[in-house]
């Protein structure tokens, strides 16, 4: 076994390379985020007061759905071309490879969503003082959501029609992240201190980053063991 750091870099580099080679896969969740956020004023009416009040909730719910959409085929392409089988056969623990896979996926989906969110906040008339909290809550929140969605993606990797099923499995588990995330932004918008919900979100992020790969590894083994 050679130096683990090199192994980690090669594994991470491969995941980033595969995603970067398919630009559209990175851009699609961002466009989804943009378009769906634009739907709300069309549906609810453009009045700034109304939109400003709902902006934190809208931004967080749409970001959540974007993460869900981006996570659907997370393991499927590796499952179809046989590379996932090699990962299962590898002496490198499946916990580590799963962790690398989801982190790389978050870097190219959750993080860009977070960086795009201030633009949409303005579009939804959200007061600017809420933007720092929005960035912080989405950065931590998308991390939590990506790891939860990855568990669902691993459970449904072997199934042909995973999409709708994936949302059924993971949306209930998104509830705490949504509650703390949008609350943090709402408080910041009202000028109140939002460190409590952000701290809770941070704690959840640490927990899921450490624990979710165990469930992902178990789920990937199940889908291959038939």
């Amino acid at each position: 076994m050679s130096d683990p750091r090199i192994i980690w870099n090669v594994l991470l580099r491969r995941e980033l390379l595969v995603s970067l080679r398919r630009r559209s896969e990175i851009a699609n969740p961002l466009f989804f985020f943009l378009i769906v956020c634009a739907l709300f004023p069309l549906g609810l009416g453009p009045s700034p007061a109304l939109l400003a009040g709902m902006a934190p909730g809208i931004l967080w719910i749409v970001a959540l759905l974007a993460v869900l959409m981006a996570s659907d085929g997370l393991f499927r392409s590796d499952y179809d071309d046989g590379t996932l089988e090699q990962v299962l056969l590898s002496p490198v623990p499946l916990y580590v490879t799963s962790l690398v896979k989801v982190l790389a996926h978050w870097l190219l989906s959750g993080l860009p969503l977070t960086l795009l969110s201030p633009l949409l906040a303005m579009m939804l008339q959200m007061p600017p003082q809420g933007i720092p909290a929005l960035l912080a809550s989405l950065a931590l929140g998308t991390l939590v959501l990506s790891f939860i969605a990855a568990i669902g993606a691993a459970l449904t990797v072997g199934l042909k029609r995973g999409g709708v099923l994936l949302s059924l499995l993971v949306l209930p588990l998104f509830v705490p992240a949504l509650i703390f995330g949008s609350a943090a932004v709402q408080r910041a918008v009202l000028g109140m201190d939002s460190s409590a919900p952000l701290a809770l979100l941070g704690a959840m992020a640490i927990m899921f980053v450490l624990v979710a790969p165990l469930a992902i590894a178990g789920a990937l083994r199940v889908s291959h063991d038939q």
């Binding site: 449904t156 029609r161 588990l173 703390f180 624990v211 178990g218 789920a219």
Partner: protein
């Protein structure tokens, strides 16, 4: 110790054991339910604040409590089937899911009906009812995942993992919903406040809760026994059992 554990997990041994347990569970659950409901409906005076609609508590609270316990039982059975590959635990997981989902549905329906006379709306975004709603979604997720697999053994193991992930998240979900509820609604009206009901009126509740727990056990055993017969159909003891019927 291992022999005992192994014996306990053999479907045949469990089939015989459950055979003796079934009548007791059935009798206790029916008795407890009938007496508890009659007592709660007819003999207990109405609540001074909510009037007679509070009587729904005698079925709403047990349904929610047993539904939650059912999920934790499912997660435990899932863990056992994943770690020790015991078929019986996999069957318990598969059979408990629909019962739990039905009880969660009951808790939601009775909660909604209770909300109408008390707060004028069919759906109250109360902390406990919202948590039960999320629990209902968790159950639906388990059942949907189980049905999605053709290979039933993989289905059992995948559902076991989801049940464990769900069970770990339930405290977080329940606590975050409580936090969310206190954020938007100072606890003026809420189911959680029913402890304001006179203790003397809560006595029938103990009976109906016992009744619901035994009822859950009764239906679970019935379903698991069917599952055992199905999965062990090519064994000798099932053949003798069938032909001797």
């Amino acid at each position: 110790m291992w022999a005992w554990f192994h014996k306990w997990s053999s479907p045949r041994w469990f089939y015989q054991l459950s055979g003796t347990l079934l009548p007791w569970l059935a009798v206790i659950s029916l008795a407890a339910l009938i007496v508890g409901v009659a007592w709660g409906l007819m003999f207990v005076p109405p609540d001074y604040k909510q009037g007679n609609s509070f009587r729904i508590i005698y079925i709403h609270v047990p349904a929610a409590a047993v539904a939650m316990a059912g999920y934790l039982l499912m997660a435990t059975a899932g863990a056992i089937s994943l770690i020790w590959r015991i078929k019986l635990a996999d069957m318990v997981l598969k059979c408990a899911a629909p019962i739990g989902a039905a009880l969660t549905f009951l808790a939601l329906v009775t909660g909604a009906i209770w909300g109408k006379p008390t707060w004028g709306t069919w759906w109250v975004w109360d902390a406990r009812i919202t948590s039960v709603l999320v629990l209902f979604f968790l159950y639906i997720g388990i059942i949907a995942l189980y049905e999605a697999f053709d290979n039933k053994e993989a289905a059992g193991r995948a559902s076991a993992i989801l049940a464990l992930v769900g069970a770990v998240n339930i405290p977080i979900i329940y606590w975050s919903v409580e936090w969310w509820y206190s954020l938007h609604q100072p606890a003026s009206i809420s189911f959680t406040g029913e402890s304001s009901i006179h203790p003397q009126m809560l006595r029938p509740l103990l009976l109906t809760i016992t009744g619901f727990y035994c009822f859950f056990g009764w239906v679970l055993l019935l379903k698991v026994r069917n599952e055992i017969l199905h999965r062990e159909r090519s064994t000798r003891w099932v053949r003798d059992l069938i032909l001797s019927r």
